[in-house]
């Protein structure tokens, strides 16, 4: 019974990982179909709650969701099954592509194509940064944190992880001060 549940979790999340492009929100429709409608592992509301949690915990949102649903269904091992199912397609597909690409990377046409792709990807990433700035910088303090983090990344050897921890601490302190002022 338990083995069957673990297999179901693995297969469901394997499908979700293998058939959606992009992760995060792009996965939501597929998750709804597999997890909510087909298996009834959680309700629509729970799924959105899991998403909210996934967005404010470390790690990849898709993996967090797989872990959470798996854990609720079959404990820690269930969480592991869901997560392994979610990452398996990536492992297979990426390793295949990487090994194939190695054989073709020296062909001029592949080099030209990759050069073009790199430029477009830079523009895509720039676009992501702009929309993250719009969502993340909502007031003066946000702008200040953005500026300080950017300067730290550009001109100092401060580790990236430390910047994240400091920014989180700054957020907590700022909100404390705000509450005290309003009290």
């Amino acid at each position: 019974m338990r083995t069957k549940k673990l297999a179901e979790l693995y297969i469901s999340f394997f499908k979700i990982g293998g058939l959606t492009f992009g992760g995060g929100l792009a996965m939501l429709p597929m998750l709804q179909r597999e997890v909510v409608q087909k298996h009834g592992w959680c309700t629509e509301e729970e799924l959105l709650d899991i998403y909210a949690i996934g967005q404010c915990t470390p790690g990849i949102i898709a993996v967090n969701t797989a872990t959470y649903v798996g854990y609720k269904q079959a404990g820690f091992i269930g969480g592991v099954s869901g997560t392994l199912g979610m990452v398996s397609p990536s492992l297979i597909i990426i390793c295949l592509i990487a090994s194939i690409l190695q054989n073709f990377i020296h062909m001029p046409v592949v080099l030209h194509a990759l050069a073009g792709i790199r430029i477009v990807v830079c523009a895509l990433m720039l676009n992501t940064v702009v929309s993250m700035m719009k969502k993340g910088i909502i007031d003066k303090l946000g702008a200040l944190v953005f500026l300080i983090a950017f300067i730290l990344a550009c001109f100092t050897p401060v580790p990236t992880a430390l910047v994240i921890v400091l920014a989180g601490a700054a957020g907590i302190i700022a909100k404390r001060i705000e509450r005290r002022r309003n009290a």
Binding site: K72, A123, M132, A153
Partner: protein, 184 residues
């Protein structure tokens, strides 16, 4: 030995990359300076392939980085190490914390973290952009006008509402065509 280093580095990335797959980018950028697993230019290729294949982008990038560093075993180690912190944290939250995302300290921390993540990714993208738009001929570093134009035009097109919603795969395919056509 390389597997231990990979496991350590990707566990760290999993623990501190908050806010979606692209959040792993600044950390991968750090790795290009620390190890000779892949170059910054290869990192941009990895982003392109991760965006145009199924699966979460963050996982795809970790798998690719691990593969470049140490083949298939490297890919497996990097991917599992990336997911390990989340596995532990989510199980703890599911077990002990109700309404975690409504907690006021969690909300306050995220209020600070979101702009910082945008800045860190912004810096990493700036570094990758610099590499993509300059060309080195006979030791002379020159800004490549064609590359800058293609990047600017793409960015401008992305601001058009309907075009911006197109899947990244479409853009990446277009980039490949432009690259071949212009012999970039």
């Amino acid at each position: 030995m390389i597997y231990l280093i990979l496991a350590y580095e990707f566990f760290k990335i999993g623990l501190f990359s908050i806010g979606g797959g692209m959040a792993t980018l600044p950390f991968l950028m750090d790795l290009t300076n620390k190890y000779d697993w892949f170059t910054a230019s290869e990192l941009t290729n990895m982003v392109a392939i991760s965006e145009s294949t199924p699966g979460p982008v963050g996982i795809n990038m970790a798998t690719y980085a691990g593969y470049n560093a140490a083949g298939v075993p490297g890919a497996i180690v990097a991917t599992l190490a990336l997911t390990a912190p989340a596995l532990i944290i989510i199980v703890l939250i599911a077990k002990f914390l109700e309404n975690f995302s409504e907690n006021k300290n969690v909300k306050a921390a995220f209020y600070g973290i979101r702009p910082a993540v945008a800045a860190l990714i912004g810096y990493a993208v700036w570094e990758l952009l610099k590499i993509a738009i300059v060309s080195v001929t006979d030791g002379n570093v020159q800004v490549n006008v064609i590359n800058v134009s293609v990047c600017a035009v793409t960015f401008a097109l992305l601001q058009v509402k309907k075009l911006g919603k197109l899947h990244p795969l479409v853009w990446i395919a277009a980039g490949a065509c432009v690259g071949i056509a212009l012999r970039m």
